[in-house]
């Protein structure tokens, strides 16, 4: 555009460079360390991470121990007409028992 001929955008003030770089260096100094850096630097964090890791491993091991369960009780397959088998006396034996009452 011809209206901009001989013109250029305003430049930053020269003193800004020092100010910005000083602020940037300060930001580097106050940078929050990462997990690995924390692990290397702080004993308490190391112990915490070790404890959590051990608990996690123990939890995994406990989960892998097989749980003994009783075998399922299954009745023989029966059709609709049959009466399910009941434990106890047979019909003949029951008659014997009921005989006094009869």
């Amino acid at each position: 555009m011809s209206d901009f001929d001989g013109l250029r955008p305003a430049e930053p003030p020269p003193e800004l460079r020092g100010r910005v770089l000083a602020a940037a260096r300060e930001a580097v100094g106050s940078r929050s360390p990462g997990l690995f850096e924390l692990l290397v630097a702080d004993r308490a964090v190391r112990i915490s991470v070790a404890v959590v890791s051990l608990l996690f491993i123990a939890h995994l091991l406990v989960d892998r121990v097989p749980v003994r369960t009783s075998a399922p009780v299954t009745a023989p397959a029966a059709d609709e007409a049959s009466v399910p088998a009941e434990p106890g006396l047979t019909a003949a034996e029951q008659i014997d028992e009921l005989e006094p009452a009869l």
């Binding site: 555009m1 209206d3 901009f4 001989g6 955008p9 305003a10 430049e11 003030p13 940078r31």
Partner: protein, 194 residues
Amino acid sequence: MADARVLEGWILALAEPEERLRADDLGPTVERVARGDIDALGPLYDAVASEIFAAALWRTGSRADAADVVQDVFVKVAASPGLLRGVRHARRYLLTMAHRCAIDRGRRAKPEVSIDDALIVPVLGDPERSLDAARVTQALRSLPDAQREAIYLHHFAGCSFREVAKITGVPTFTAASRYRLGIARLRAMLGGSR
């Protein structure tokens, strides 16, 4: 006829090479910064601070805010150098950061404060153009922030409309439209005063 010209403008906008801003010259510096080399911030500043400052100045209209934006960008980069890891177009990335910081500054700015900072100055202090610079600055100030920003990014920073769109977070058509409307209004204002 006018429609055909508009359509031609859109086609030209889309046909522009997408990446006029190359990060090649910044690549090694940016890699150093990304590795946490604090000494690389100086060269990075020298390479991009003018553009970041001007982009923020044209967006906010205030030299103080623009200087703060430059500082914000560099503090963020210094605090989290990993941000630049794997960035292919560092200049565009930093301009995007500046755009966001400038918007944040704009939200916090007090609207009643009047600012007379020059947005544009004569090349090499040419006195004949000083008056023009003041007139153009005045005309630029009457434009919406987004149009002013689009004019700077496209005309002075050399960004394609697609890049302007990426930096400002709008569709390409919107970026091109902002530029064209801004330039049209600027021409109308300056044409009438000359």
